[in-house]
């Protein structure tokens, strides 16, 4: 790696990290697992003046349940998330997402906070984060605020993240006990990212009608999204092959499909429909 020159500092507390970012005069970047940042440094797509290492800040690896929500510390690695009992018990599809993110080395270093705050539309977590109304706890010079993941990313690597702030926690809605959930991923063979990743969580009431349905989609477009037209089409109805087929066909509504050497927009849209359909069959068996 031959990045441009930068200064490296290591913060011992959230407050110190914020003041280090302030000192960097808008040229600062947070370094956590580095798996999103370092490739950008390597390609000189980003040329920060200062890297603020937050991995030594204590307390950012906690996992707890609070007021019906699961709260995960921003520095929790993908590997840790994939094996955490509280997470597996409450949101198994989050653990599944983590276990399918990158490869073993990436999972050992990459963090959930870094992954989401990066705003990369091909990351894995946004699918489940959008599906479960995740919020980011953002601590910065203007105090602490909770920012919904839905609407956080505006475009590839462009986010609502305020200056001189860092994400310290990610919280997820815990779905009711009767639901089934999955994360279905079509892995891009070059990058290992999802060409499409579908988080699907669904449940039916005692009469067999769908009473809980959440679909998050990542990978295929500029911004990961919640497939609300699919959810609306299914809600309150009894699942059938035909219904699922109809609903899945709505999976790309309103989303603009991306393109690269591996897959055209047309193929992405097709695969998204197929994977949403397959995911729905899995959770609405």
């Amino acid at each position: 790696m031959i990045p441009s020159q930068f200064k490296y500092v290591s913060a011992q507390s959230i407050e110190e990290a914020i003041s280090m970012l302030q000192e960097a005069n808008g040229e600062g970047k947070i370094l956590a697992g580095g798996h999103s940042l370092v490739p950008l440094l390597k390609f000189r797509i980003t040329t920060p003046g200062t890297l603020v290492d937050i991995t030594r800040i204590p307390g950012l690896k906690e996992v707890r349940v609070e007021d019906g929500r699961l709260i995960v510390g921003a520095l929790k690695t993908h590997f840790e998330i994939s094996r955490n009992e509280t997470i597996i018990e409450n949101i198994p599809s989050l653990a599944k997402t983590a276990s399918e993110t990158g490869d073993l080395q990436v999972r050992n270093y990459g963090t959930i906070g870094g992954n989401i705050v990066h705003g990369d539309p091909v990351a894995d977590y946004p699918a489940i984060a959008l599906a479960l109304d995740a919020e980011l706890k953002v601590e910065g010079e203007d105090g602490t605020e909770m920012m919904p993941v839905d609407g956080f990313a505006l475009g590839p690597l462009i986010t609502m993240m305020p200056e001189n702030a860092l994400v310290t926690e990610v919280s997820f809605e815990i779905p009711p006990e009767h639901v089934a959930q999955t994360y279905l991923k079509y892995t891009h063979p070059a990058t290992g990212y999802p060409l499409v990743g579908v988080a699907a969580i669904a449940g039916t009431d005692s009469g067999g009608a769908i009473d809980y349905i959440r679909i998050g989609i990542t990978g295929v477009s500029d911004v990961s999204y919640r497939a609300r037209p699919v959810e609306e089409h299914l809600m309150g109805k009894k699942p059938s092959k035909a219904l699922i087929e109809e609903a899945a066909a709505l999976a790309t509504e309103g989303a603009e499909m991306g393109s690269d050497l591996f897959a055209s927009p047309e193929y992405r849209a097709h695969i998204t429909n197929v994977y949403v359909r397959r995911a729905l069959h899995e959770v609405l068996k």
Binding site: I2, S4, F43, P189, A190, T191, F262, S264, Y267, H270
Partner: protein
């Protein structure tokens, strides 16, 4: 004692490398070391109007900035080293830095030398170049069309060379019962070794010696060619290769970058290092394949193939690479008929200049391409005449009684038993049951495909007279010196250049069997032009077949000299001295004996030598084999296609290869396994992509799909052993067979799966989207 040749010995090389004790080029630190970074053209074709290097020169830490104009007259163009007689080659000049015109994305335009690699890279971005963009062309067939932009004034229609091998007339084809016409292209791929290219040059102004560490598969060829490029004599030029992380053909070539670094080190009188970045590798390391082949195959309804006629448009890039002209014409063109007894075959090759990076050898270098073409066509033929593809192969194979067998274009295959390998593969696969299972699953809407590929390839490059005949600018013999130290341990020097192949292990097995000394007492020295007198390197699956046999012959000479000395010391006739398990003894008198260790000491001390015998125990051979060797085999791939997504899953992969005598099955399997990953990689995933103008689109591993271990099932491998008669050990090449056999096997399996859907052909790589679209189209047709 059991012979070591043939045993699964663990690799000697591994403890060092896996404990982090290897020394790669980038690990080498020398006081005063400077770092180079090269500014490369972002345009496929552009006139260099002006270069302003002032800002870069003024940047703190920058020591020098060179442009093409600065070096004019100081470094010669980098030549090609393969000029086939009769090809009418038009050789253009590749200057180490473009002087007035850049001809591909990645063409060197300027070089910065600085105190650190970071500074060098920063300064590269400060060089201001004014370009005038010129028309350009990337596709070789487009390049030959009327009205295509001509890249060089002196090269009409961009045809660098045209070469015709063999003869097939129109009547041969028109009168055939069955005629298959098809296009069988192998796309461009990037060699992508784990360690990229690199060089480190150090000049001693006192002695006038130049030492160059370089990522090379053939340091002596590097010395020879760079000596011309730099006008620097070979005897003052020391070329070394550090531990090296792979080559796959991409490090055969002599590149401008190595000349530049050497020049800068001499000019600045300080050591200079350059390490290619991965992005640079995609731009400016020789690519592989990129052959567009139109084939006509004539045959009879009962399965006999009667004639082959191919036209190969080979993209050779903007400049001729070191072996560039040889791969499509010789390795491809003369192997057209593969393992089959086909009366007539003709290959016309057009070597096409385009505004792309040069194309050179990549694992197999012509043989995977021709095997892909032939084996895809054989299965198309089988489908057309409704015959099992196994049967078609059986009908057409050269039979084992016919060896040495002369193929349609005059190459003489040393030995072979093609039916044996085919039968074994069919048996290991459970072919009949697979066919039944396939039928069963098709009824359930699942699409399983079974693909075969039988191959033979020329490997083990030698003899040198043939090299001369085909215009290879060098010899292809191999050299070895076996030096016995006074304590009885042995150092062996060879001219082959291992960089992952495990020569240290396999060659030691050969020496151990001959000398009977402990395996640990044998050490190898390679990759150093001052230690090894001469050698031609590692490529073309030649190291064991040529180099390993040179080691065997030199070791035999040591044994014989030892025998003479033992006879003298034991006061016995030479004819009565047996040598076994490291002991010379008088036949029938076990008590009268000398150990090899004792003889080593006696020879080195020379207190009591026979009349006329020189002191020391060190022997040397130059081995020039009488022919190439021709390994062969059959591969079978079983895949399932998800017809809804076009996704391909490899269910099984069965390989039966015959590489003559196998010295170490573990090492040989490693070669086959890696080769299969690269061949299947070509079939399904890999591909360098330029747009029509020559702008590189696959500039990183984000866009270039490297196969990963989890893409594959366990590969089922077995060897048959048909010895080669052209060398002492009976060995053949093994390193390229996996690749040569596997591209067609994988592609045929996919085509077999899709045949019921009316899909006839899909261009490589078989990306899911292409497969999906072909199914849509094919389905609509039926």
């Amino acid at each position: 004692m059991e012979k070591m040749v043939g045993q699964r010995i663990k690799r000697k090389e591994d403890p060092k490398l896996i404990t982090g004790n290897g020394v790669y080029l980038d690990d080498i630190k020398i006081p005063g070391l400077l770092h180079a970074s090269i500014l490369r053209s972002p345009h496929p074709h552009a006139k260099i109007v002006s270069i302003d290097k002032e800002k870069a020169l003024a940047h703190p830490g920058v020591v020098a900035v060179y442009t093409g104009k600065d070096l004019e007259g100081k470094i010669n163009p980098v030549p090609t080293s393969w000029k086939v007689p009769g090809m009418n080659l038009i050789e253009t000049k590749q200057y180490p830095l473009a002087i007035d015109t850049a001809r591909y994305v990645g063409d060197g335009v300027a070089m910065v030398i600085a105190e650190s690699k970071y500074t060098a890279r920063d300064a590269v971005e400060m060089i201001e170049v004014e370009y005038e963009v010129l028309p350009s062309v990337a596709n070789q067939k487009e390049a030959r069309k009327e009205g295509a932009h001509q890249i060089y004034e002196e090269v009409p229609d961009n045809v660098a060379f045209k070469y015709v091998a063999g003869e097939v007339t129109d009547e041969d084809l028109e009168n055939a019962e069955v005629l298959i016409k098809g296009t069988y292209n192998t796309q461009r791929v990037a060699p992508s070794p784990m360690e990229t290219r690199n060089s480190l040059a150090q000049y001693n102004p006192g002695s006038g010696d130049l030492k160059l560490y370089v990522g090379s598969q053939n340091p002596h060829i590097h010395r020879m060619v760079l000596s011309e490029v730099l006008n620097f004599p070979e005897h003052k030029f020391h070329v070394k290769v550090a531990d090296m992380g792979g080559g796959f053909g991409g490090k055969i070539g002599v590149y401008p970058d190595e000349a530049l670094v050497s020049y800068a080190a001499m000019d600045l009188k300080r050591p200079v290092k350059w390490v290619e970045t991965r992005n640079e590798h995609f731009q400016s390391a020789n690519a592989g394949r990129d052959m567009m082949v139109d084939l006509e195959l004539a045959g009879t309804k009962d399965g006999k193939i009667t004639a082959l006629r191919a036209v190969n448009h080979a993209n050779i890039g903007a400049y001729l690479a070191t072996f560039g002209p040889g791969n499509p014409t010789i390795d491809f063109g003369l192997m057209l008929s593969g393992p089959y007894k086909i009366e007539k075959a003709q290959c016309t090759t057009y070597g096409m200049y385009t505004n792309t990076m040069s194309v050179d050898s990549y694992r197999g270098a012509g043989k995977p391409e021709v095997t892909f073409m032939l084996e895809r066509a054989v299965e198309d033929f089988a489908r057309k005449i409704n015959m099992d593809p196994v049967e078609v192969r059986r009908i057409n194979f050269a039979s084992k009684e016919e060896f040495p067998f002369t193929n349609a274009q005059g190459l003489i295959y040393d030995s072979g038993d093609y039916v044996k390998a085919l039968d074994k593969a069919v048996e290991n696969a459970g072919y009949q049951e697979l066919r039944e299972k396939q039928k069963e699953l098709r009824a359930q809407g699942r699409y399983i495909g079974i693909g075969l590929s039988s191959y033979v390839e020329l490997s083990g490059f030698g003899p040198s007279a043939v090299a001369g005949g085909i215009g290879f600018q060098g010899g292809i013999w191999e050299n070895s010196t076996v030096r016995v130290h006074p304590g009885g341990t042995v150092t062996v020097y060879t001219g082959t250049s291992p960089h992952g192949q495990g020569h240290d292990t396999t060659f030691s097995q050969i020496v151990k069997d001959k000398l009977g000394i402990p395996y640990e007492d044998i050490n190898f020295v390679f990759n150093d032009t001052r230690a090894v007198s001469m050698g031609w390197g590692t490529y073309g699956s030649r190291s064991l077949a040529v180099g390993g046999n040179a080691v065997a012959l030199a070791t035999d000479k040591v044994v014989e000299k030892g025998r003479l000395l033992a006879a003298h010391l034991l006061e016995a006739d030479v004819e009565s001295i047996d040598f076994s398990e490291g002991i010379y003894s008088v036949r029938g008198e076990a008590g009268r004996r000398k150990t090899f260790k004792e003889i080593a000491k006696a020879a080195n001390f020379a207190w009591n030598m026979p009349e006329g015998m020189e002191p020391g125990l060190e022997e040397k051979t130059f081995f020039d084999p009488s022919n190439f060797t021709y390994p062969f085999g059959t591969h079978i791939a079983v895949v399932e296609v998800d017809v809804e997504t076009g996704g391909i899953k490899i269910l099984r992969y069965i390989a039966v290869d015959d590489s003559g005598k196998i010295v170490n099955p573990t090492v040989a399997e490693g070669q086959i396994l890696g080769g299969i990953a690269q061949g299947v990689g070509q079939a399904l995933w890999e591909g360098v992509q330029y747009d029509e103008k020559g702008q590189l689109q696959s500039g990183s591993f984000m866009d270039y799909t490297m196969p990963k271990a989890n893409f594959f099932p366990k590969i089922e491998m077995e060897f048959t052993e048909t010895l080669s008669p052209v060398n002492q050990l009976g060995t053949k090449g093994v390193a390229e067979s996996g690749t040569t056999g596997s591209i067609a096997a994988a592609a045929n399996a996919v085509m077999d799966a899709l045949a019921p859907l009316g899909v006839i052909s899909i261009e490589l790589p078989l990306k899911p989207e292409k497969v999906w679209k072909a199914i849509q189209k094919g389905g609509a047709k039926s």
